[in-house]
C-alpha cells in the first residue's frame, strides 16, 4: 500500500494559466452536456407554433434565466475557443512553453471579446 501523504488543498494549488484553460474546458464541457436536453426542449418550443415561439422569447427574457444564459454563453465560447487551441496543439502549433502560455492568454482575451460582442448583440 502506498502510504505517502496526499496533500490536496485546492485553494493552495496554483494552477498555471495553461492549466486553468484546460480545467475550464472540462467544466464548460460538462455544463454544455447538462444543457443539451434543455436546448432540445427550447428547439421544440421554437418550432412547434407561433404561440410556443412567443412563449420561448418570453421565457428567455426572464431575469433569472439571463444569468443561466450568460453561464452557458461563457461555456460555449470558452469550449469553442479553448478547443480550437487544443486542435492547434495537436497540429504542433504552440507546444513550446512560451507559445503555450501566450496561447492560453490569447484564449481568454478572444473569449472576453467574443462574449462582449455576442451579449451586446443579444441583449441590446
Amino acid at each position: 500500500m502506498n502510504s505517502r501523504p496526499v496533500y490536496l488543498n485546492l485553494l493552495k494549488i496554483r494552477l498555471p494559466i495553461t492549466g486553468i484553460v484546460s480545467i475550464a474546458h472540462r467544466i464548460s464541457g460538462v455544463l454544455l452536456f447538462l444543457a443539451i436536453p434543455f436546448a432540445v426542449y427550447l428547439l421544440d418550443l421554437s418550432i412547434e407554433s407561433e404561440q410556443s415561439f412567443a412563449r420561448l422569447i418570453e421565457l428567455l427574457q426572464q431575469p433569472s434565466l439571463v444569468v443561466l444564459q450568460m453561464i452557458l454563453l461563457w461555456s460555449l465560447v470558452h469550449h469553442l475557443i479553448a478547443g480550437i487551441r487544443f486542435l492547434l496543439i495537436d497540429a504542433e502549433v504552440g507546444i513550446e512553453l512560451a507559445g503555450a502560455r501566450s496561447g492560453a492568454w490569447l484564449v481568454f482575451i478572444t473569449e472576453a471579446l467574443v462574449i462582449l460582442l455576442v451579449s451586446g448583440w443579444l441583449f441590446i
Binding site: R26, G29, P37, V40, L87
Partner: protein, 114 residues
C-alpha cells in the same frame, strides 16, 4: 469486445473530427441567422425547414452525440474508479444523449413531413 466501447485512437480521432464540424456548424448558423435580419417565427421556420439547413443540423446532432459521449466518458473514466458506479453513470449519460438526439431528430423530421 472491450468493456469500454470506443477505446484508444479511434475516439481520439472522432472527438477531433466532430469538434471541427461543430465549430464550422456554429459559425455557419450564427452568421447565417445574423444575415437573415429580423428574427421572427416565420424566418426561423424558413431557415430550419430549408433542406440544406435541416441536413447540416441533422449531421450536427450526430456529431454532438459522439462528441459529448466521448468527452463525458473520458471524465467518468478519470474520476470514477468503482466499476459498478462507472457502468451505472455511463449508462445514464448514454440514455440522456440518445434520448435528446432522438427528440431532436423527431423535431427535424416533423419539419420535413409537414
Amino acid at each position: 469486445m472491450s468493456l469500454y466501447v470506443l477505446e484508444g485512437l479511434r475516439p481520439w480521432v472522432i472527438q477531433r473530427v466532430s469538434a471541427v464540424y461543430i465549430v464550422l456548424f456554429c459559425l455557419y448558423t450564427f452568421f447565417s441567422l445574423l444575415s437573415a435580419g429580423q428574427f421572427s417565427y416565420e424566418s426561423w421556420k424558413d431557415w430550419l425547414y430549408h433542406p440544406f439547413n435541416t441536413t447540416v443540423t441533422g449531421v450536427f446532432i450526430i456529431a454532438l452525440l459522439f462528441h459529448a459521449w466521448i468527452g463525458m466518458r473520458d471524465i467518468v473514466l478519470d474520476y470514477v474508479k468503482n466499476i459498478m458506479l462507472r457502468i451505472f453513470i455511463l449508462a445514464m449519460l448514454m440514455g440522456v444523449l440518445i434520448g435528446s438526439a432522438l427528440w431532436a431528430f423527431r423535431i427535424l423530421l416533423l419539419s420535413v413531413v409537414s
